[in-house]
């Protein structure tokens, strides 16, 4: 057991898989000699050489497509797209190629491709450098999407992604890179799509993922001081979603709150509320609530940027409303 950063956990996961399997290659902009813009691939170039750790030109569409072709011809590529914003240039490779080829070929081809995408709202990067795309990718059959919130999950889920024969998108969060936590490399990992109950509680279920799961835990501590016990679920995977774990918790608490950094309109939370309402309608004691980002592009201004994404206080306020300890508002943020 060691206490390391999220980026170091990702680095260890790369190293473990590259050491175990010669067909694993890493490619992307500045992943090699430079060591990765978030240091995630630091040291791999020296260890595994320029063929297995490939610095690419600024050509997101084609180097992601290169990963697809290489995966069809016997390699297990890990493509790093520097930030989710640039992934928009690679959506043809992700959606039309990686997600479709196994299906269109009648299952003849597998797609052992991992696409790592740092994402989320960071520090004043403005609208073209901080956005969420999970809702877009979730709507594509044929992709798996994991959203690790802790160093341990980053380690486990990246290793599992590289070993998977399906295309797996690893949506990292840029603000989690320097979060520290215990990583046990010898422990047995849960399945990559299994949701984690990060805190048990009986009054309401808060479902969240990525950095917002950590924010929900902070909110839960505030609520506990007021006598409200929140159960906090970290989804860990947005496709597929572990509905069983979610539904079991909602049936237990009777209250459902979603906390997400994605924009509210047609975001991941909309799918969570719809599915869990269908599954658990008779157990719900109040209409579910969503705490989500405002439907605005990210402003550069520091104060405004904090205001458009949910803070622990916003999650706590919505929880109070949900369990009837505060007046219900029409459109909570």
């Amino acid at each position: 057991m060691q206490i390391i950063s999220y980026w170091q956990a990702l680095n260890l996961a790369h190293d473990a898989e590259m050491a175990a399997d010669d067909t694993v290659i890493v490619l992307g902009e500045d992943v090699g000699l430079f060591g990765g813009t978030y240091r995630v691939t630091e040291g791999l170039y020296a260890q595994y050489g320029e063929r297995r750790v490939l610095d690419t030109p600024v050509s997101e569409g084609s180097f992601t497509g290169l990963g697809v072709g290489a995966a069809m011809a016997g390699l297990r590529p890990v493509v790093e797209i520097m930030t989710v914003n640039f992934a928009l240039l690679a959506l043809d490779a992700i959606i039309n190629m990686a997600a479709k080829i196994p299906f269109m070929s009648g299952g003849q081809f597998t797609m052992p491709l991992t696409i790592r995408i740092p994402s989320g709202t960071a520090h004043q990067l403005a609208a073209q450098h901080s956005q969420r795309l999970e809702h877009t990718l979730m709507n594509v059959p044929g992709l798996r999407i994991v959203v690790p919130a802790t160093p341990q999950d980053a380690y486990w889920q990246l290793r599992q992604a590289i070993r998977s024969d399906d295309c797996v998108i690893v949506l990292e969060h840029e603000l989690l890179n320097f979060d520290q936590g215990p990583v046990d490399t010898a422990a047995v990992a849960p399945p990559p799509h299994r949701a984690a109950v990060r805190r048990e509680g009986s009054d309401l279920t808060v479902i969240s993922y990525s950095r917002m799961a950590n924010q929900a835990l902070i909110a839960a501590e505030q609520l506990a001081a007021e006598g409200i016990e929140a159960e906090v679920l970290d989804l860990r995977s947005l496709s597929p979603i572990d509905w069983e774990t979610c539904a079991a918790s909602v049936r237990k608490t009777g209250h459902l709150l979603i906390a997400e950094e994605d924009s509210r309109f047609a975001g991941a939370g909309a799918e969570l509320v719809a599915e869990l309402t269908e599954r658990c309608f008779s157990s719900l004691r109040a209409a579910p609530l969503r705490v989500a980002a405002l439907d605005l592009p990210n402003p550069y201004n520091k104060t405004l940027e904090q205001q458009i994404i949910p803070q622990p206080a916003d999650i706590a306020a919505a929880a109070r409303t949900l369990v009837g300890k505060a007046p219900r508002q029409e459109m909570p943020k």
Binding site: S62, G65, F103, S105, G107, T110, H193
Partner: protein, 350 residues
Amino acid sequence: MERELHIRFLRDMLRARRMEERIAQEYTRGNIGGFLHLYPGEEAVAVGVLHAAEPGDYVVSTYREHVHALVRGMPMRNIMAELFGKRDGCSRGMGGSMHLFDTERRFLGGYAIVGETYPIAIGAAYAVMMRGLPEAVICFFGDGAVNQGTFHESLNMAALWKLPVLFVCENNHYQIGTEIHRHSAVTEVYKRAAAYNIPAAKIDGMNIETVNRHAREALAQVRAGQGPHLLEFETYRYRGHSIADPGSYRPAVEVAAYEARDPIAAEMRDLSLHYPDADTLHALGLHSSESLGQHYIEHGHLDTAGLEAIEADIRAEIDDAVAFAQAAPEPTLDDARRALRPSLIQETLI
């Protein structure tokens, strides 16, 4: 030997032409749906290039790929069944006309988004380079596809890392209905390769011998580790872009001019000139020439009966393929789910 090669060329070009003609018929009978892009006129390119390929090579193709798949060795039965949307199709009825795939023959698929073949090809070529085997990747694309960003991005990477790719441009002069002078500032595709230091040439795509010779030479260089190569084959499609397109934007005289250079007719002419049938020899007064007669007995010759035998074989192959496709079962939703997640079972622990 040379004659056998030419008969193989002729046989494959005829199989391609007759198969596509039958596919058009089956479409009008309602047995085939969706978009359908046919190949007549361009046969010398597919047959000439793919007869230069080795079994270890990879092939990446476009949405006009039935003939590429056929010449690569995919059984006509599985092509036809796929077009009929049946479970015994090469892609189990999930792909259709534009998405033929075959792992066994390293046929990496037909792609229906223009410009997708380049990144797939350089990816496969990267895997080949890592293994260090003398294999090559053959990447087909049309003249309309060279204005996509992926063309430039992928040619850059292919040249930068000396990847073993043969880029094959089937220049049929039309991007659906837009003639090349209206879609490209530089209409000679091969010249664009110079921007990335990739050796390239423009070749007559209506002459199978020329196509095959250049493809062999280029592939030899690619396999020898000399990096990518680009060949632009000037060719023509007699039909419109797809079955729904009558192609009326093209002057009749232009279509007629290319039809006059039909690669199949040319091949038949060449074969009958070099290997005239018995009646022709007789007419030429050569029947008494024992030495020449001996020559043709030794080497055989393509006479009318020989050609008819080839055509009969092809008719039988096509009839069999259509009967197979008609009898094949429809795929089920379970088949579709299995196709999407071939490795669902692999939800395992590390």
